[in-house]
Amino acid sequence: MSNRTHHFGDARANQDKWHYRYIVEGLNDPIFILDSECQISYANKACLAVLGYGPDELLGHSFNKFLHKEEAVEIGKNLAGLTQGTGHELHIEHRLLTGNGNWEVFETCGKSLSGQADQPLGMLHLRNITKQKQTGVDLKTQARLLELLMDISTTYINIPLDKLDSSLKKSLEVLGKYIGADRFYIFEYDFKQNISRNTYEWCSDGIEPEIENLQSIPLTEITDWVECHQRGDIMHIPDVFELPIENGVRQILEPQEIKSMIAVPMMDEKQCLGFVGLDSVRVQHCYSNAEKKLLTVFANMLVSIHNRFFTLEALYMQNDKFKQIAWMQSHLVRAPLARMMGLCSLLERGKYSEVSKPEILEGINRSANELDQIIRNISKKTDILNGHDKYI
């Protein structure tokens, strides 16, 4: 009976062991058992599917060697506690090098176990949370992007002219840092002089400003660039060194050590006023759709500001011309007129001890001619104000 019972007990134990193995091997998450030296003594099948490592690449190797060097020391201490029986549980989040060479993020739970002869072991259950983490980062990035767009909108609505310069400089810095650019700039196109001019620039620490060297770039040297912008398209060069050596854009960008760049046109309906652009000097950068969107919003905002101040400037100029006309009428017209009136009055008096009659007549004649010229000038300015200057 006792033999039978014993036999039955062994069978039950084997069945439980088989069940546990079936469960562990069937799990989608990697499971490790580490020995007291933190070396991997068991790894389930999911390790190959999730981490990309086969048994040969894992068994007998230290778990620590797969950890990121910034985290290895701290996590190594925790694992040592787990496998040496001084700590019983752990719950950590860490990076781990996968078989395809990528660093991915895992949430790992650990528990102390007792092996043969009560030898302590550690069991680890890993869960890949890279996607969740990336989603979190994306959400944060999106939130920051929205915040920046809000900032841009509120900063530039009704901004007074005297605040514009400092606000633009600040915006370039904030957006440049957000995107991680090395240089952020605004250029205007001058199609009358056929040149492009750098009006604002922000540079990250250690990057040489180029604004002084970029005040008069002939548009003939960057025809592809200008044509792209005139169509309203974004000029995006992820790798400057992929451009042909003789390409004009490359010849401008390469001496500035620019590896990647993007330039978004500032379109006023079908007219291109200039562009906003980013340079990556230290590393190559392929600008994302979100970054392009941000730059486009900023460029559109600049167009709106340009139009507002252009209208204001036109009004100020017109006002100045009105002031000039008022001043001319008040001072220039009245001066010869008052002189003529005074001299006529003197003639009328018949007494003019200090001045001779020919001098008075000459004074009247000169004043009349002066008055004639002034009236002609006023007429000319009025024609300009009325837009008739092309007939002058």
């Binding site: 001043w327 008040s330 001072h331 009245r334 001066a335 009055s345 200090e354 008075i360 004074g363």
Partner: protein, 136 residues
Amino acid sequence: MKQELLIVDDEYIILLMHKTIVVEEGLHESPHIIMDGELALEYIKDNDEPGNAYLVLLDINMPGMSGWAFLDAIQAQEWNSRIHVAILTSSVNASDRIKATEYPQVLAYIEKPLINRHILEIKEHPKLAGYWNKGK
């Protein structure tokens, strides 16, 4: 103690015309004619003695030191309380008339041409009455 009258204008014919009227209407027997603000300022600095008083018939729009610049310059002078100014200008601009009131030395704002009535107004100004017609 002297009471002097300076006529300041950049046009020579105007200076002669105003001098004629000032003399003939008995405001002053021997006014000085000066062709810009700077020369007027120098004249006063060079000739001033304690107790002297000056009436300046001052044009505004002059090359070099304008009438306004002359008025600004005398604000820093300790003798400015002995200066009286009648602005004598062709400007009919309201802003000029308002600006003139900002200077304590300005007694009158006269639009050219200078006529007898203006001389009478100067003579009868409370601050000058019985004063300038003695400046001989």
